[in-house]
């Protein structure tokens, strides 16, 4: 299978039925997408597929043929975080942080589609991403901040 991963063309030799999550983690040794439920219910594994948030535990490798996949690593780096990552850092929007990959990817995809959302629209967009530590208010504040800065 051929697809673009964080901006460069790649080829995977994995079983085409494998969910994309395990390809990203086990074949390409990426750290951003996390296994949370394998059921598409929690959002910890979220990536962008052609700029739209997608749950990588639910997408078979065969379905990404010819598409562009972006993970947390493809947004920014420790030295140069993306606008959304920087807003999360400034708001200290993490406790354990295990869900935050999904929160940042979901928010990034959402803001690409709706750069000037209301708070209610943000809540709707994030409502099926689970956080157990109770960081929700910080996450909402971070997304509002990123939106105010006008970028992702």
């Amino acid at each position: 299978m051929h697809f673009r991963l964080n901006g460069r063309p790649v080829e995977s030799a994995f079983d085409p039925t494998s969910p994309l999550l395990y390809v990203l983690r086990d074949e390409f040794a990426l750290n951003g997408p996390k296994f949370g439920c394998g059921l598409g219910e929690c959002g910890a594994c979220t990536v962008l597929m052609d700029d739209a948030p997608a749950r990588s535990c639910q997408i078979p490798l065969a379905a990404v043929q010819g598409h562009a996949v972006t993970t947390l690593e493809g947004l920014g780096t420790l030295e140069h975080p993306s606008v959304v990552q920087q807003a999360f850092i400034e708001e200290q929007a993490a406790q354990c942080g295990y869900c935050i990959n999904g929160m940042i990817m979901q928010a990034t995809g959402f803001l690409k589609q709706n750069p000037h959302p209301t708070r209610q629209e943000i809540i709707q967009a994030m409502d099926n991403n689970m956080c157990r530590c109770g960081t929700h208010l910080r996450i909402l504040a971070a997304i509002e901040k990123a939106a105010a800065k006008g970028g992702v």
Binding site: D15, D26, A29, F35, G36, L39, Q92, M130, G134, L137
Partner: protein, 764 residues
């Protein structure tokens, strides 16, 4: 370490340089260092128990919470090091589970040493980092931070002596500032210069002079957490999450578990599974503690895992598919019968089971006298169900059994309990077991069990490869430990507007070690000035896996106590806030209640309007922290739907080390506890948990999260108390009391679901 692909055709792993005890330290200190260990003081305290021992040292109240960590007698005890290249390194053993406690400890060290925050760092935690214990009980900044404070102050005073000698002046004329001592004549010498070329060691002095809290510069400021940027960018490397650690040659295991608790494996066919691409091995294991020599089941690291079969593969998907295939041929016996879950989900049945142990948690005066002084008696019953820890990331562990030694990669809350258990199970000395600790998903107490590590241990022993075990979502809900249910019988005597007798009986499905639970979690010490109090715990048993959930039972106790306080207040015809304030004498308890009530515009409603306020409070004598909540709710009387709109949280943890960190723990604890009482309940039937995912075990969603208003009362003159668990305590009682204020309906069991609220409304 040489790198090689994890399996043929696999990725080249990033160079993995795990920390390795003394080798690492010799490297760190090669150019000279001053190292202050926590060990001798501990030895001193240990001797204190002997007949000829000197009296225990007098300790400054700012140091007292940390004295318990001093000197576990190990030469590798915790320490603080000042190195010749100007770094200040701290080694202690409490992992940061997402509370920011490590950042707080570093702030304390920076201030005691008069250096900027950036100069101080903490080394990765492993089994040679010992020993400020494991993380739990809100002890991070409160206790481990106090130990760090002592070590840093001892280091500073040792450096002062060195500086006095170097500059030829009296030590008390020197002023510490920005990593140097400054003499009155303008000369100065840096810490780095003082230790260059020397290997100096010393032991912490429990009576060392501590810097006055009034002069702190770093403590009290919202320093950003040290772990957040890496967590948000997926950096990898030895400071990244456990799940991102990749070891050369690593294989993945997934587990086929019994269909019911206690079911025994009869047969299975591994042959078709072994033919699947990527599958390396199929390993049957029996981890029933009665079948495993060396298994210590008495402590926190309990183990009731039973039998399972591991499928080991070169990648995760192959292992998952292997388990699915194996399940088709596996045959099991029937499991152990469970006591049926009551349809009401309210657990009165706990009071009908044989009680195998009873514990008096709190007693004052006499119930006979208390009730004889009462003009009225009030009684009520409350209950809470089984709750799941429900971490977002399921249990993970990695182990490599090598000849004569074992290497473990873990996110355990205590590296030493994991190290000891692994050593016992393998018949090895603890020195042969290295445990590396990494950040994990928040697990809220479940991390004392470290189940996936023990499973990976036995699989690795069977196949000799580094084995990574990760549980699937369903396993996490079915096989993880849970918080047991409780049934409360409350009885109170009233004379006018005063409580004369307060009787609290709780029936609880046994957690591990009853005394430990009694002392730390279940026992609550009401600050109320009631003359007669009885608080008794009755332990019963149901064969489900029980363990720790954040705040260890105190939030459910507080639900019963503070709901019942409201019922007593209404029975006495007194405003619930006034009723509490008039029976408290502790000014800090009064202050948190008053602060929350004022912010919320407190007013008990005489006529239910569908909107209401409820109040509840808690004091934790271990953490020395006070909290009071006012909940603001709106109830849809047609549907029974409760919307928790806002939580006002009065909070006094003494000196606030990091205001942003304390705020975040208040927000997080309040939201998590709102989730517990509004939505959560483990359901079980046919010998097994039936709530297996985020649909059947829902937690709070973004659209249901209340606004949280932290109202922190900073007390710079009082040593910092515990924080991490505290905000969870009064949440459910405040919400239940607000529902009553809004509707006149009293909800006496978690969760406060629409059906339950609707039924209660119909009975009003």
């Amino acid at each position: 370490m040489a790198s090689s692909p994890a399996y043929p055709g696999g990725p080249e792993p990033a160079g993995f340089e795990g920390p390795s005890g003394w080798t690492r330290r010799q490297f760190l200190f090669g150019a000279g260092a001053l190292i202050i260990t926590f060990s001798t003081a501990a030895n001193l305290l240990a001797r204190g128990a002997a007949a000829a021992a000197p009296p225990a040292p007098a300790v400054n109240p700012w140091a007292a919470p940390g004295v318990g960590y001093l000197g576990n007698g190990s030469p590798l005890s915790s320490w603080i090091a000042i190195t010749a290249d100007g770094r200040i390194l701290i080694s202690q053993s409490q992992p940061d589970v997402g509370t920011g406690a490590q950042t707080g400890m570093l702030q304390i060290a920076a201030d005691e040493l008069y250096v900027p925050f950036e100069r101080v760092s903490m080394l990765p935690i492993d089994s040679s980092s010992a020993n400020t214990g494991g993380v739990g009980g809100s002890t991070g900044v409160h206790r481990a931070g106090a130990a760090v404070r002592l070590a840093a102050a001892t280091a500073r005073e040792t450096l002062r002596s060195l500086a006095a000698a170097a500059l030829g002046v009296a030590g008390d004329t020197l002023v510490p500032r920005d990593g140097a001592f400054h003499a009155p004549d303008g000369r100065s010498v840096t810490y780095a210069q003082l230790v260059a070329g020397k290997q100096l060691t010393g032991n912490v002095d429990p009576n060392v002079h501590l810097r006055s809290s009034a002069t702190y510069e770093v403590v009290g400021t919202p320093v950003p957490r040290i772990d957040i940027p890496a967590k948000l960018t997926g950096t990898g490397g030895p400071t990244d999450y456990l799940v991102n650690q990749r070891v050369p040659g690593m294989v993945h295991a997934r587990l086929l578990r019994p269909p019911a608790y206690g079911a025994q494996l009869l047969s299975y066919d591994a042959r078709p599974v072994l033919k699947m691409p990527g599958v390396v091995a199929v390993v049957p294991l029996d981890l029933d503690p009665e079948h495993v020599p060396g298994w210590n089941t008495s402590g926190i690291t309990n183990m009731e895992m039973g039998q399972f079969v591991a499928v080991v593969a070169t990648n995760e998907w192959a292992a998952i598919q292997g388990v699915q295939a194996l399940a088709k041929t596996a045959r099991w016996t029937a499991g152990e019968p469970l006591i049926p879950q009551p349809a009401s989900n309210t657990y009165e049945y706990l009071a009908t089971l044989p009680v195998f142990s009873t514990q008096v948690a709190n007693a004052r005066g006499s119930m006979v006298r208390g009730f004889s002084q009462a003009s009225r008696q009030i009684a009520a019953e409350y209950s809470t169900p089984y709750l799941a820890n429900a971490p977002i990331g399921p249990s993970t562990g990695m182990v490599w059994v090598k000849p004569g030694e074992v290497e473990v990669w873990s996110d355990s809350q205590n590296v030493f309990s994991t190290q000891t258990q692994v050593a016992n199970l393998m018949g090895l000395p603890t020195s042969a077991v290295t445990v590396h600790n990494f950040p994990g998903s928040g697990v809220y107490g479940r991390g004392w069990n470290d189940d996936a590590v023990y499973e990976a241990l036995f699989i690795s022993r069977a196949i000799g490869l580094p084995v990574r075990v990760q549980w699937m979502r369903q396993e996490e809900f079915q096989w993880s430990t849970m918080q047991g249910p409780k049934f409360f019988r409350m009885r109170g005597g009233l004379n006018g507007n005063r409580v004369t007798a307060f009787q609290f009986d709780v029936y609880t499905d046994k957690d591990f070690g009853d005394t430990w639970m009694g002392q730390n979690g279940i026992a609550i010490a009401p600050l109320y000035t009631f003359p007669h109090i009885s608080q008794v715990i009755h332990y019963v048993s149901n064969p489900m896996r029980k363990g720790l959930l954040r705040a260890v039972g105190a939030p459910s106790n507080c639900f019963a106590v503070e709901s019942f306080m409201d019922e007593l207040a209404y029975a006495a015809g007194v405003d619930p806030l006034e009723f509490r304030l008039s029976q408290l004498s502790d000014p800090r308890a009064i202050a948190v209640l008053t602060r929350a009530a004022e912010a919320a515009g407190w007013k008990a409603h005489t006529k239910p309007s569908g909107r209401g306020l409820g109040i509840a409070t808690f004091f934790d004598p271990g953490a020395q922290t006070y909290v009071a909540d006012v909940a603001q709710v709106a109830v849809d009387k047609a549907t029974g739907q409760v919307r928790v709109e806002r939580m006002y949280v009065g909070f006094d943890c003494g000196l606030v080390v990091n205001p942003n960190g304390v705020r975040l723990q208040i927000e997080g604890g309040t939201i998590q506890a709102t989730s517990w009482c509004m939505k959560e309940s483990v359901r079980y039937a046919d010998g097994m948990v039936q709530t297996v995912d985020w649909i059947s075990y829902p937690i709070l969603h973004f659209s249901e999260v209340p606004e949280v208003v932290p109202l922190i009362i900073d007390r710079p003159d009082i040593p910092p108390g515990g924080v991490g668990e505290l905000a969870t305590m009064p949440v459910s009682a405040a919400i239940a009391n607000a529902i009553y204020d809004a509707t006149g309906a009293r909800i006496r069991s978690w969760p406060f679901t629409p059906d339950k609220v609707k039924a209660a409304l119909a009975a009003v």
